[in-house]
């Protein structure tokens, strides 16, 4: 029998790749926080990352593979699920499902769309480029962030995307534990609440940068 064709097999892929990406999101967040330290520190952090090119490329390869599998199977499973429920009820009442659980495919696609923009913007500098070198000769990440987020448009798109991430994770984290079978009546409420809490931490942590830039707290001296 074929693992990648079974309903359980593909769900395990979704759960494992999902958890990998959650770990990445937290790692990314800890990097971001250096923007709140002294002005040069996020530039130093970026320069340090770039110097570890083998590590960075291995990291990118793993995350990109996880993302591709997650998107591919996510879309495939959703299309199958739509086909399994061809006729809608005239009257429908939801009892336990949440807004987050019912919108997984839409928040997922929104995140994928934003990711393309995010990479074009901050990684490849193809859109809204701010390329600048700081006084130590490093790429000036701090200036890039501040100038970008001073645009209300860029900040709102970013905050909306982070909201999609948070919604996706509010369901996704506990869902991945259930799929991997790490769940019983005792751990269920703990896992569900921890998943929600992680989603809230990610939301607040990520939107802090655009919010502080727009509020004028993060700026050039």
């Amino acid at each position: 029998m074929q693992f990648f064709k079974n309903t359980g097999g593909r769900k395990i892929v979704m759960a494992v790749t999902g958890i990998l990406m959650v770990l990445f999101i937290f790692a990314h967040l800890t990097g971001n926080i250096s923007v709140f330290a002294e002005p040069g520190s996020i530039n130093a952090y970026a320069a340090k990352l770039h110097s570890l090119s083998l590590f960075v490329w291995a990291y990118r390869f793993i995350i990109f593979s996880a993302l591709s599998l997650h998107v591919f199977f996510g879309i495939q499973i959703t299309l199958e699920n739509y086909a399994a429920k061809p006729e809608a009820y005239e009257v429908r009442r939801n009892l336990r499902s949440t807004f987050a659980s019912r919108t997984m495919i839409w928040t997922g696609l929104a995140i994928a769309a934003y990711l393309i923009f995010h990479l074009l913007h901050f990684t490849f500098h193809a859109v809204f480029p701010v390329k600048h070198i700081d006084s130590s000769g490093r790429p000036d990440v701090f200036r890039m962030l501040v100038l970008s987020f001073q645009s209300f448009f860029i900040s709102s798109v970013y905050i909306a995307a982070i909201a999609a991430v948070a919604l996706h994770l509010a369901h996704g984290i506990q869902s991945s534990f259930q799929t991997l079978g790490i769940n019983n009546e005792r751990t269920f409420p703990v896992i569900t609440k921890s998943g929600m809490l992680a989603a809230i931490i990610i939301f607040l942590g990520y939107i802090a940068i655009p919010v502080f830039v727009l509020a004028g707290v993060l700026r050039f001296l």
Binding site: M1, Q2, F3, F4, K5, N6, T7, G8, G9, R10, K11, I12, I77, E80, N81, A83, A84, K85, P86, E87, A88, Y89, E90, V91, R92, R93, N94, L95, R96, S97, T98, S101, R102, M104, H171, Q174, S175, Q178, T179, L180, G181, I182, N183, N184, E185, F188
Partner: protein
């Protein structure tokens, strides 16, 4: 009490159905939901109209035949209640009630409110046998089973196969049903021998019958008239993980 019903009418599986309005008059609060429908049908017969076709058997909440989706909830809004055990005292005079069949690709409508739930039987069949000793009758309780395990197995075995979980699931998945069958055998030593093969065959069969995948919405548990818990789905997933390395090739 008097009620307005909007009931799904569909002559044949391949025909398009629609909601039809019926008035239920002088309904006693002591009646069960099915008895209320019986009363409506008697009125239809009196007037020479075709009766509303619905499934029922034991009328005591253990057979799982009477599945209907009432006001958007399988078996109606009362927790852990089958339609036959849903009493009219839980409705008010003048209520508008929508009655629809269970909806899923794997449950084709046969007529009106009756759907073909044979797909659930075929999932059970695909699970196969358990190995037992032949020969003399073994002593009762010769195999010792921890009380907790026996309780869990019995909790899972409470599933009456009514299909409410499938009807409630936004993905039309039969995961709660399959998980309860997997769990009640996997918890007992007699069921352990074929457990790997069983979980693989039953999940494959579930997919092939056209059921969707579990999205962990947990609508199934809320709709289940027997209160089967989604933790059994986690148990199925654990059984599946254990079986993967024995049974599966990647592609």
């Amino acid at each position: 009490m008097n009620l307005t019903l909007f009931i799904w009418r569909q002559k044949r599986p391949d025909e398009k159905g629609r909601l039809e309005r019926h008035e239920a008059k002088d309904i006693s609060p002591e009646m069960s939901f099915l008895e209320m429908l019986d009363a409506v049908n008697e009125e239809l017969v009196k007037n020479g109209n075709e009766t509303i076709v619905f499934d029922h058997d034991c009328r005591e909440g253990i057979c799982g035949s009477c599945s209907q989706v009432i006001n958007g909830v399988p078996h109606g809004h009362r927790e852990k209640t089958t339609v036959c055990q849903l009493h009219m005292r839980h409705f008010k005079d003048g209520d508008i009630i929508y009655i629809e069949p269970l909806r899923a690709k794997a449950f084709p409508v046969i007529k009106d409110l009756i759907v073909d739930r044979g797909a659930l039987d075929r999932i059970i069949q695909s699970g196969g046998y358990i190995s037992v000793h032949t020969g003399g009758v073994p002593d009762a309780n010769a195999i010792l089973i921890p009380k907790e395990d026996a309780d869990t197995a019995m909790d899972a075995a409470e599933c009456i196969g009514c299909g409410a979980c499938v009807a409630a699931c936004p993905n039309g998945s039969a995961m709660l049903f399959t998980a309860s069958k997997i769990t009640h055998l996997a918890m007992l030593p007699q069921g352990r021998i074929e457990s790997a093969r069983r979980v693989c065959m039953m999940t494959e069969s579930m997919m092939n019958e056209g059921f969707g995948s579990c999205g962990n919405h947990y609508e199934c548990q809320a709709a289940c008239p027997k209160g089967i818990k989604v933790q059994f789905i986690a148990k199925l997933n654990r059984e599946f993980l254990k079986a993967v390395f024995k049974t599966y090739t990647p592609f």
